[in-house]
Symmetry: C2
Subunit: 193 residues, 2 copies
Protein backbone atom coordinates (compact mmCIF):
# COMPACT_ATOMS: atom_id res chain seq x y z
CA UNK A 1 0.00 0.00 0.00
CA UNK A 2 2.78 2.41 0.89
CA UNK A 3 4.70 1.46 -2.21
CA UNK A 4 1.57 2.01 -4.27
CA UNK A 5 0.97 5.39 -2.68
CA UNK A 6 4.44 6.48 -3.56
CA UNK A 7 4.38 5.19 -7.11
CA UNK A 8 0.94 6.62 -7.84
CA UNK A 9 2.07 9.96 -6.45
CA UNK A 10 5.24 10.06 -8.48
CA UNK A 11 3.94 8.74 -11.75
CA UNK A 12 0.20 9.35 -11.70
CA UNK A 13 -2.39 6.65 -12.22
CA UNK A 14 -1.59 6.20 -15.87
CA UNK A 15 2.15 6.34 -15.43
CA UNK A 16 2.27 3.92 -12.54
CA UNK A 17 2.73 0.27 -13.42
CA UNK A 18 1.88 -2.74 -11.36
CA UNK A 19 5.37 -4.04 -12.01
CA UNK A 20 6.89 -0.91 -10.50
CA UNK A 21 4.68 -1.08 -7.43
CA UNK A 22 5.44 -4.77 -7.02
CA UNK A 23 9.18 -4.18 -7.32
CA UNK A 24 9.08 -1.38 -4.78
CA UNK A 25 7.14 -3.58 -2.40
CA UNK A 26 9.52 -6.50 -3.01
CA UNK A 27 6.79 -8.73 -4.41
CA UNK A 28 6.25 -10.56 -7.68
CA UNK A 29 3.64 -8.84 -9.77
CA UNK A 30 1.38 -11.87 -9.69
CA UNK A 31 1.37 -11.78 -5.93
CA UNK A 32 0.33 -8.16 -5.95
CA UNK A 33 -2.58 -9.18 -8.15
CA UNK A 34 -3.45 -11.81 -5.59
CA UNK A 35 -4.17 -9.12 -3.01
CA UNK A 36 -5.54 -6.47 -5.34
CA UNK A 37 -7.39 -7.87 -8.29
CA UNK A 38 -7.00 -4.81 -10.47
CA UNK A 39 -4.91 -1.69 -10.59
CA UNK A 40 -8.00 0.43 -10.07
CA UNK A 41 -8.96 -1.44 -6.91
CA UNK A 42 -5.53 -0.82 -5.44
CA UNK A 43 -5.72 2.81 -6.44
CA UNK A 44 -9.15 3.23 -4.91
CA UNK A 45 -7.93 1.86 -1.59
CA UNK A 46 -4.96 4.18 -1.59
CA UNK A 47 -7.17 7.19 -2.18
CA UNK A 48 -9.68 6.12 0.43
CA UNK A 49 -6.95 5.83 3.04
CA UNK A 50 -5.85 9.38 2.38
CA UNK A 51 -9.36 10.69 2.57
CA UNK A 52 -9.71 9.19 6.04
CA UNK A 53 -6.57 10.89 7.33
CA UNK A 54 -7.68 14.09 5.72
CA UNK A 55 -11.10 14.07 7.35
CA UNK A 56 -9.61 13.18 10.69
CA UNK A 57 -7.71 16.47 10.77
CA UNK A 58 -11.01 18.20 11.20
CA UNK A 59 -11.48 16.95 14.72
CA UNK A 60 -9.46 19.85 15.98
CA UNK A 61 -11.99 22.15 14.44
CA UNK A 62 -14.87 20.96 16.50
CA UNK A 63 -13.53 20.89 20.03
CA UNK A 64 -12.21 24.43 19.87
CA UNK A 65 -13.43 27.22 22.14
CA UNK A 66 -12.99 29.87 19.48
CA UNK A 67 -11.91 30.66 15.95
CA UNK A 68 -8.27 31.32 16.73
CA UNK A 69 -7.82 27.95 18.38
CA UNK A 70 -10.08 26.08 15.97
CA UNK A 71 -8.79 27.41 12.70
CA UNK A 72 -5.23 27.67 14.00
CA UNK A 73 -5.22 24.04 15.06
CA UNK A 74 -6.80 22.99 11.79
CA UNK A 75 -4.08 24.73 9.83
CA UNK A 76 -1.47 23.10 12.04
CA UNK A 77 -3.00 19.70 11.48
CA UNK A 78 -3.20 20.12 7.74
CA UNK A 79 0.38 21.37 7.55
CA UNK A 80 1.50 18.33 9.51
CA UNK A 81 -0.33 16.05 7.10
CA UNK A 82 1.36 17.76 4.18
CA UNK A 83 4.66 17.07 5.78
CA UNK A 84 4.04 13.50 6.85
CA UNK A 85 1.93 12.30 3.97
CA UNK A 86 3.15 14.16 0.91
CA UNK A 87 2.52 11.20 -1.37
CA UNK A 88 -1.04 10.80 -0.22
CA UNK A 89 -1.73 14.45 -0.74
CA UNK A 90 -0.40 14.23 -4.27
CA UNK A 91 -2.50 11.22 -5.10
CA UNK A 92 -5.56 13.04 -3.84
CA UNK A 93 -4.71 16.15 -5.82
CA UNK A 94 -4.11 14.10 -8.94
CA UNK A 95 -7.41 12.31 -8.53
CA UNK A 96 -9.39 15.53 -8.13
CA UNK A 97 -7.54 17.24 -10.97
CA UNK A 98 -8.52 14.46 -13.32
CA UNK A 99 -12.16 14.91 -12.46
CA UNK A 100 -12.32 12.52 -9.50
CA UNK A 101 -13.29 9.51 -11.61
CA UNK A 102 -12.85 7.16 -8.69
CA UNK A 103 -14.02 9.10 -5.66
CA UNK A 104 -16.76 11.31 -7.02
CA UNK A 105 -19.22 9.73 -4.59
CA UNK A 106 -17.05 10.78 -1.63
CA UNK A 107 -17.07 14.35 -2.84
CA UNK A 108 -20.82 14.38 -3.20
CA UNK A 109 -21.60 12.83 0.14
CA UNK A 110 -18.99 12.91 2.89
CA UNK A 111 -17.08 15.96 1.74
CA UNK A 112 -20.20 17.96 0.98
CA UNK A 113 -21.62 17.33 4.44
CA UNK A 114 -18.32 17.95 6.13
CA UNK A 115 -17.95 21.26 4.32
CA UNK A 116 -21.46 22.40 5.15
CA UNK A 117 -20.82 21.72 8.83
CA UNK A 118 -17.58 23.68 8.90
CA UNK A 119 -19.08 26.58 6.99
CA UNK A 120 -21.87 26.75 9.54
CA UNK A 121 -19.36 26.81 12.38
CA UNK A 122 -17.38 29.61 10.79
CA UNK A 123 -20.54 31.55 10.03
CA UNK A 124 -21.52 31.28 13.68
CA UNK A 125 -18.24 32.85 14.71
CA UNK A 126 -18.83 35.64 12.23
CA UNK A 127 -22.33 36.25 13.52
CA UNK A 128 -20.91 36.45 17.02
CA UNK A 129 -18.55 39.15 15.83
CA UNK A 130 -15.48 37.05 16.47
CA UNK A 131 -14.43 37.05 12.83
CA UNK A 132 -14.55 39.57 10.03
CA UNK A 133 -17.45 38.90 7.67
CA UNK A 134 -15.56 36.80 5.15
CA UNK A 135 -17.07 34.13 2.95
CA UNK A 136 -16.48 30.90 4.93
CA UNK A 137 -16.35 28.82 1.78
CA UNK A 138 -13.48 30.73 0.27
CA UNK A 139 -11.71 30.75 3.59
CA UNK A 140 -11.85 26.97 3.63
CA UNK A 141 -10.56 26.76 0.08
CA UNK A 142 -7.69 29.04 0.98
CA UNK A 143 -6.72 26.86 3.92
CA UNK A 144 -6.92 23.70 1.84
CA UNK A 145 -4.99 25.21 -1.03
CA UNK A 146 -2.23 26.72 1.05
CA UNK A 147 -1.60 23.81 3.36
CA UNK A 148 -1.71 21.20 0.61
CA UNK A 149 0.56 23.34 -1.53
CA UNK A 150 3.45 22.44 0.74
CA UNK A 151 2.96 18.79 -0.17
CA UNK A 152 1.77 18.93 -3.76
CA UNK A 153 4.27 21.56 -4.84
CA UNK A 154 6.92 20.38 -2.43
CA UNK A 155 9.33 19.83 -5.26
CA UNK A 156 9.00 23.43 -6.42
CA UNK A 157 9.39 24.73 -2.90
CA UNK A 158 12.44 22.56 -2.44
CA UNK A 159 13.96 23.87 -5.65
CA UNK A 160 13.36 27.43 -4.52
CA UNK A 161 15.01 26.48 -1.23
CA UNK A 162 18.32 25.83 -3.00
CA UNK A 163 17.34 22.25 -3.68
CA UNK A 164 17.20 21.33 -0.03
CA UNK A 165 14.10 20.07 1.78
CA UNK A 166 12.65 22.39 4.37
CA UNK A 167 14.32 22.05 7.73
CA UNK A 168 12.48 21.60 10.98
CA UNK A 169 12.83 25.32 11.59
CA UNK A 170 11.60 26.23 8.12
CA UNK A 171 8.54 24.06 8.53
CA UNK A 172 7.70 25.83 11.73
CA UNK A 173 8.22 29.20 10.06
CA UNK A 174 5.93 28.11 7.24
CA UNK A 175 3.23 27.04 9.66
CA UNK A 176 3.49 30.26 11.61
CA UNK A 177 3.44 32.38 8.47
CA UNK A 178 0.37 30.68 7.12
CA UNK A 179 -1.45 30.93 10.41
CA UNK A 180 -0.45 34.53 10.92
CA UNK A 181 -1.60 35.75 7.52
CA UNK A 182 -4.84 33.84 7.51
CA UNK A 183 -5.82 34.57 11.09
CA UNK A 184 -5.09 38.25 10.67
CA UNK A 185 -6.82 38.14 7.31
CA UNK A 186 -10.07 37.05 8.89
CA UNK A 187 -9.73 39.40 11.80
CA UNK A 188 -9.34 36.59 14.29
CA UNK A 189 -6.15 37.57 16.06
CA UNK A 190 -7.41 41.08 16.71
CA UNK A 191 -10.04 39.78 19.11
CA UNK A 192 -8.17 37.77 21.74
CA UNK A 193 -11.31 37.57 23.83
Amino acid sequence: MEAAEKVFAEAGFGGATMQLIADMAGLPKANLHYYFATKEELYRKVVARIFEIWLHAADTFDNAPGPVEGIGAYIDAKMDISRRHPFGSKVWASEVMHGAPVIQDYLETTLREWTAGRIAAIQRWIDEGRLAPVDPRHLLYMIWATTQHYADFGHQIETLNDGKPLSEKQWKAAKDSVKEIILRGIGADATPV
Copy 2:
Protein backbone atom coordinates in the same frame (compact mmCIF):
# COMPACT_ATOMS: atom_id res chain seq x y z
CA MET B 1 -1.68 22.21 -28.94
CA GLU B 2 -4.98 23.09 -27.32
CA ALA B 3 -6.19 19.55 -27.70
CA ALA B 4 -2.97 18.30 -26.17
CA GLU B 5 -3.28 20.70 -23.27
CA LYS B 6 -6.75 19.44 -22.55
CA VAL B 7 -5.91 15.76 -22.85
CA PHE B 8 -2.75 16.07 -20.76
CA ALA B 9 -4.71 17.96 -18.12
CA GLU B 10 -7.50 15.41 -17.97
CA ALA B 11 -5.48 12.23 -18.19
CA GLY B 12 -1.99 13.14 -17.04
CA PHE B 13 1.12 12.51 -19.08
CA GLY B 14 0.97 8.78 -18.68
CA GLY B 15 -2.75 8.51 -19.25
CA ALA B 16 -2.81 10.70 -22.31
CA THR B 17 -2.42 8.93 -25.65
CA MET B 18 -1.30 10.40 -28.92
CA GLN B 19 -4.33 8.82 -30.53
CA LEU B 20 -6.66 10.70 -28.19
CA ILE B 21 -4.92 14.00 -28.80
CA ALA B 22 -4.98 13.41 -32.52
CA ASP B 23 -8.68 12.57 -32.48
CA MET B 24 -9.50 15.64 -30.46
CA ALA B 25 -7.52 17.78 -32.85
CA GLY B 26 -9.15 16.09 -35.85
CA LEU B 27 -5.85 14.75 -37.15
CA PRO B 28 -4.51 11.33 -37.99
CA LYS B 29 -2.04 10.20 -35.40
CA ALA B 30 0.75 10.01 -37.97
CA ASN B 31 0.22 13.65 -38.85
CA LEU B 32 0.52 14.63 -35.22
CA HIS B 33 3.85 12.83 -35.17
CA TYR B 34 4.86 14.85 -38.20
CA TYR B 35 4.66 18.05 -36.19
CA PHE B 36 5.78 16.67 -32.84
CA ALA B 37 8.28 13.88 -33.12
CA THR B 38 7.60 12.42 -29.71
CA LYS B 39 4.96 12.62 -27.04
CA GLU B 40 7.47 14.20 -24.70
CA GLU B 41 8.31 16.97 -27.14
CA LEU B 42 4.64 17.87 -27.48
CA TYR B 43 4.26 17.81 -23.73
CA ARG B 44 7.28 20.00 -23.21
CA LYS B 45 5.89 22.62 -25.57
CA VAL B 46 2.54 22.59 -23.81
CA VAL B 47 4.19 23.13 -20.45
CA ALA B 48 6.44 25.87 -21.77
CA ARG B 49 3.46 27.76 -23.17
CA ILE B 50 1.79 27.74 -19.79
CA PHE B 51 4.90 28.91 -18.06
CA GLU B 52 5.02 31.94 -20.35
CA ILE B 53 1.46 32.95 -19.56
CA TRP B 54 2.14 32.38 -15.93
CA LEU B 55 5.22 34.60 -15.85
CA HIS B 56 3.44 37.26 -17.82
CA ALA B 57 0.95 37.74 -15.01
CA ALA B 58 3.74 39.21 -12.94
CA ASP B 59 3.91 42.37 -15.02
CA THR B 60 1.17 43.85 -12.88
CA PHE B 61 3.42 43.39 -9.92
CA ASP B 62 6.16 45.64 -11.14
CA ASN B 63 4.33 48.72 -12.35
CA ALA B 64 2.38 49.16 -9.16
CA PRO B 65 2.68 52.20 -6.92
CA GLY B 66 2.12 50.21 -3.74
CA PRO B 67 1.46 46.80 -2.22
CA VAL B 68 -2.31 47.01 -2.35
CA GLU B 69 -2.34 47.70 -6.06
CA GLY B 70 0.56 45.41 -6.88
CA ILE B 71 -0.46 42.36 -4.94
CA GLY B 72 -4.14 42.96 -5.56
CA ALA B 73 -3.61 43.12 -9.30
CA TYR B 74 -1.38 40.07 -9.21
CA ILE B 75 -4.06 38.08 -7.43
CA ASP B 76 -6.61 39.28 -9.97
CA ALA B 77 -4.36 38.26 -12.83
CA LYS B 78 -3.71 34.83 -11.40
CA MET B 79 -7.38 34.24 -10.70
CA ASP B 80 -8.17 35.19 -14.29
CA ILE B 81 -5.58 32.73 -15.54
CA SER B 82 -7.12 30.01 -13.40
CA ARG B 83 -10.43 30.73 -14.98
CA ARG B 84 -9.28 31.04 -18.57
CA HIS B 85 -6.57 28.41 -18.62
CA PRO B 86 -7.65 25.71 -16.20
CA PHE B 87 -6.12 22.97 -18.32
CA GLY B 88 -2.77 24.65 -18.49
CA SER B 89 -2.74 25.14 -14.75
CA LYS B 90 -3.46 21.46 -14.25
CA VAL B 91 -0.70 20.38 -16.56
CA TRP B 92 1.71 22.60 -14.71
CA ALA B 93 0.58 21.26 -11.36
CA SER B 94 0.88 17.70 -12.57
CA GLU B 95 4.36 18.31 -13.89
CA VAL B 96 5.59 19.82 -10.62
CA MET B 97 3.89 17.15 -8.54
CA HIS B 98 5.73 14.45 -10.44
CA GLY B 99 9.05 16.10 -9.67
CA ALA B 100 9.23 18.39 -12.69
CA PRO B 101 11.08 15.85 -14.86
CA VAL B 102 10.67 18.01 -17.93
CA ILE B 103 10.95 21.59 -16.72
CA GLN B 104 13.38 21.34 -13.84
CA ASP B 105 15.72 23.77 -15.62
CA TYR B 106 12.97 26.40 -15.73
CA LEU B 107 12.48 26.09 -12.01
CA GLU B 108 16.16 26.47 -11.31
CA THR B 109 16.71 29.46 -13.54
CA THR B 110 13.76 31.58 -14.59
CA LEU B 111 11.47 30.82 -11.68
CA ARG B 112 14.22 31.18 -9.11
CA GLU B 113 15.20 34.60 -10.41
CA TRP B 114 11.64 35.73 -10.75
CA THR B 115 10.89 34.70 -7.19
CA ALA B 116 13.95 36.43 -5.79
CA GLY B 117 12.91 39.67 -7.51
CA ARG B 118 9.39 39.57 -6.15
CA ILE B 119 10.56 38.71 -2.68
CA ALA B 120 12.84 41.72 -2.76
CA ALA B 121 9.97 43.95 -3.85
CA ILE B 122 7.75 42.72 -1.05
CA GLN B 123 10.54 43.05 1.48
CA ARG B 124 10.99 46.67 0.40
CA TRP B 125 7.36 47.37 1.14
CA ILE B 126 7.75 45.77 4.52
CA ASP B 127 10.83 47.83 5.30
CA GLU B 128 8.90 50.92 4.35
CA GLY B 129 6.25 49.97 6.86
CA ARG B 130 3.59 49.50 4.24
CA LEU B 131 3.13 45.82 5.05
CA ALA B 132 3.15 43.78 8.21
CA PRO B 133 6.45 41.93 8.64
CA VAL B 134 5.42 38.65 7.04
CA ASP B 135 7.73 36.23 5.29
CA PRO B 136 7.50 37.26 1.61
CA ARG B 137 8.25 33.75 0.44
CA HIS B 138 5.32 32.19 2.22
CA LEU B 139 3.09 35.02 1.10
CA LEU B 140 3.97 34.20 -2.50
CA TYR B 141 3.30 30.51 -1.93
CA MET B 142 -0.07 31.35 -0.45
CA ILE B 143 -1.02 33.45 -3.45
CA TRP B 144 0.10 30.77 -5.88
CA ALA B 145 -1.62 28.01 -3.97
CA THR B 146 -4.91 29.80 -3.50
CA THR B 147 -5.31 31.20 -6.98
CA GLN B 148 -4.28 27.99 -8.71
CA HIS B 149 -6.57 26.02 -6.44
CA TYR B 150 -9.54 27.41 -8.34
CA ALA B 151 -8.21 25.80 -11.50
CA ASP B 152 -6.56 22.63 -10.23
CA PHE B 153 -9.33 21.73 -7.80
CA GLY B 154 -12.03 23.24 -9.97
CA HIS B 155 -13.83 19.93 -10.10
CA GLN B 156 -14.02 19.73 -6.32
CA ILE B 157 -15.20 23.32 -6.08
CA GLU B 158 -17.81 22.65 -8.72
CA THR B 159 -19.03 19.58 -6.87
CA LEU B 160 -19.34 21.62 -3.68
CA ASN B 161 -21.26 24.21 -5.69
CA ASP B 162 -24.07 21.72 -6.35
CA GLY B 163 -22.31 20.42 -9.42
CA LYS B 164 -22.53 23.71 -11.25
CA PRO B 165 -19.55 25.75 -12.45
CA LEU B 166 -19.00 29.06 -10.71
CA SER B 167 -21.06 31.85 -12.18
CA GLU B 168 -19.67 35.22 -13.19
CA LYS B 169 -20.83 36.56 -9.85
CA GLN B 170 -19.29 33.73 -7.89
CA TRP B 171 -15.95 34.20 -9.61
CA LYS B 172 -15.98 37.84 -8.65
CA ALA B 173 -16.88 36.92 -5.09
CA ALA B 174 -14.02 34.44 -5.02
CA LYS B 175 -11.56 37.01 -6.28
CA ASP B 176 -12.74 39.57 -3.77
CA SER B 177 -12.63 37.09 -0.91
CA VAL B 178 -9.11 36.00 -1.71
CA LYS B 179 -7.89 39.56 -2.07
CA GLU B 180 -9.65 40.69 1.06
CA ILE B 181 -8.26 37.97 3.29
CA ILE B 182 -4.73 38.14 1.97
CA LEU B 183 -4.47 41.91 1.86
CA ARG B 184 -5.83 42.22 5.36
CA GLY B 185 -3.63 39.32 6.38
CA ILE B 186 -0.50 41.22 5.45
CA GLY B 187 -1.75 44.48 6.86
CA ALA B 188 -1.96 46.10 3.46
CA ASP B 189 -5.51 47.36 3.45
CA ALA B 190 -5.01 49.17 6.72
CA THR B 191 -2.68 51.65 5.06
CA PRO B 192 -4.63 53.19 2.19
CA VAL B 193 -1.91 55.73 1.60
